[in-house]
């Protein structure tokens, strides 16, 4: 078997005394789409941050295509092909929507000049933001900001795309559109890790679902089987009760 694109090996992340991730094991082959579910505060976003280099691992390792990137900066990991969206959008408020994407194209994808501009426009088009290209990003409402998160991540030309709750708040039709977009990304060969509470959208895309709770991955497998599993029911009930 060839080397998985992403390997998360005994990963732990702590914020002071708070041990959010204790021992996460995850291996994602190239081209696969994996969904992540889990109760609020389980550490899903923290896992994406540890993979993208925004948070440091306190133990364990992250490997990209076999290469250990545990000590590598977020910028370097982005250039190696990791694109991510932030759950709470982080737009460059004083730049235009187009320029936000251009940052990713120039720095993440390493493109220049007309190539970078074209690539940014494509990313905006894919995320459905092309019409707002000249707006200051700070003026976008929440949904627009979430789309911008997707557009910027795409502009970096990712091989591994990390999505964090991009479907929340969408109408039925918009969610359909988003599913189609993510599916087409998957078909083009992008490996996807997608955290989503809107399970209905998620299961239309992912090949595999993992459930994260209490610092570990509790269930891992076929999306429908995972959702039907006793562990997931228990974890969610436990999560709400806590």
């Amino acid at each position: 078997m060839s080397t998985p694109l992403l390997e998360v090996d005994h990963l732990a992340v702590s914020f002071g005394e708070l041990h959010v991730l204790e021992d996460v094991e995850l291996s994602v082959p190239r081209g696969q789409a994996v969904g992540i579910v889990g109760p609020n505060g389980a550490g899903k976003s923290t896992l994406l941050s540890a993979i993208s280099g925004v948070e440091r691992a306190s133990a364990g390792a992250v490997r990209l295509a076999g290469r250990d990137v545990t000590r590598t900066s977020a910028a370097e990991r982005c250039r190696l092909g990791v694109g991510r969206s932030f759950q709470i959008p982080r737009p460059f408020a004083d730049l235009t929507v187009f320029e936000n994407a251009l940052v990713g194209a120039e720095r993440g994808a390493g493109l220049r000049g007309a190539h970078a501009r074209e690539h940014s426009l494509r990313a905006l088009e894919t995320a459905g933001l092309l019409g707002l290209a000249n707006k200051p990003a700070g003026s976008l409402p929440l949904l627009g900001r979430k789309r911008l998160e997707l557009a910027r991540a795409l502009a970096t030309g990712p091989e591994l795309l990390l999505l964090d709750e991009i479907a929340g708040g969408l109408t039925e039709a918009e969610a359909e559109e988003l599913v189609a977009t993510v599916l087409s990304l998957k078909e083009s060969g992008v490996t996807i890790l997608w955290i989503e509470h809107v399970v209905k959208a998620l299961v239309q895309v992912v090949d595999r679902l993992v459930c994260l709770a209490y610092g570990r991955i509790r269930v891992d497998g076929d999306p429908h089987e995972v959702l039907a599993s006793d562990e997931v029911a228990e974890v969610y009930l436990g999560g709400t009760a806590a």
Binding site: L64, A74, C78, R90, F92, A93, D94, R107, P158, S184
Partner: protein, 342 residues
């Protein structure tokens, strides 16, 4: 890994992206005309006029450097006087070694860049308000080190040893030097902003975590600007030194009032625009010219100007104009131009 391109739909033709277009050429032509006219002034007007303009020139340079640091790279420095003072004092050193003060200014800014580079490692350990205070502390330490050298006049300042003898010529040269430093500061800022670095800097300023996640090397970008701004302030410091034929007192040239001045000019003019610092420097220059003799009223007027602008025009004079009209002498924004729907 290789870069994956064109993830989705390819069908539609993409709109074009412009960046100022004709306005860019117009702005640069206009600037060239203004600079050439200013360069000709020593032949046209009394030396008193150009002597005053020397001050305007170094004020513009200082304001531009502070704007680059804070308005574009998000580094709020209160310690640029470290580099102003070092620029002035290193000019003594290179001048004593036989360099003219004019080439000396160039050498001095390069030397200060070399000093600023390791200092950035110290300063970058601090963030936000701590960074501002930290840079101020660094400036004080630099001053304390400089005044230990008797050859530099110790605590009492000193004069330049070798300057152009003919006073008329000297004033003209000084003015041209100041003009060149100003032009380099403003056009240099503009060049940085039009480059890829400029866009990355603004991303860092707005959100450094997001910038990092999009592949921007955050620390590297900040360091380049920290070093550049140090070199620019050193050049301004050298001009100040040449203009007064020396340094009257180290406390003055290393004084935090320079930082206050830079903040004032940039905020009045409009932070985060290339033109703003120029406008702010002109505004301060005029206030200074007409009210400096009025004793305490001078401070009242300057303070009132700062309050009025920050209350009613928080984007500053130029920033407000640019925001309302979309006008720019030095356009940096990208504009996606859609074809009119047919």
């Amino acid at each position: 890994m290789t870069v994956q391109t064109e993830p989705a739909t390819q069908a539609t033709a993409l709109p074009a992206v412009h960046r100022g277009g004709r306005a860019t050429a117009l702005g640069l032509t206009g600037t060239a005309v203004v600079l050439l006219a200013m360069a000709a002034l020593p032949y046209l007007v009394d030396t008193g006029v150009t002597a005053q303009l020397v001050k305007l020139c170094y004020l513009v340079a200082l304001a531009s450097m502070w704007n680059l640091l804070t308005g574009y790279a998000g580094m709020m420095s209160m310690g640029q006087q470290a580099f102003i003072g070092l620029g002035a004092y290193l000019l003594f050193v290179v001048n004593d070694h036989g360099l003219s003060v004019y080439t000396g200014t160039l050498v001095v800014s390069a030397l200060v860049a070399l000093v600023a580079w390791p200092l950035s490692y110290l300063a970058f350990r601090l963030r936000g308000g701590y960074f501002a205070v930290g840079t101020w502390v660094i400036a004080e330490v630099v001053r304390l080190i400089v005044v230990r050298f008797d050859s530099l006049g110790a605590a009492s300042g000193r004069s330049l040893s070798d300057v152009t003898a003919d006073p008329v010529l000297r004033r003209a040269y000084t003015y041209w030097l100041a003009l060149a430093v100003m032009a380099a500061a403003v056009l240099g800022t503009y060049a940085v902003l039009r480059s890829r670095l400029g866009l990355s800097l603004q991303a860092i300023r707005d959100d450094d975590t997001a910038a990092g996640s999009l592949g921007v090397n955050v620390t590297r970008g900040k360091r380049i600007i920290y070093v550049t701004a140090a070199a620019g302030c050193a050049a301004a410091g050298a001009v100040i030194c040449v203009n007064s034929l020396g340094v009257a007192s180290p406390t003055q040239i290393f004084g935090v009032q320079y930082s206050a001045l830079m903040v004032f000019m940039v905020v009045i003019g409009g932070i985060g625009t290339v033109e703003g610092p120029v406008v702010g420097a002109v505004a301060y220059f005029l206030l200074d010219k007409y009210f400096a003799q009025s004793g305490v009223w001078y401070l009242v007027v300057v303070g009132a100007a700062a309050i009025v602008v920050s209350l009613y025009l928080p984007r500053g004079l130029w920033g407000t104009l640019a925001h309302r009209t979309g006008f720019a002498v030095f356009p940096v924004r990208h504009t996606v131009r859609f074809r009119a729907a047919s």
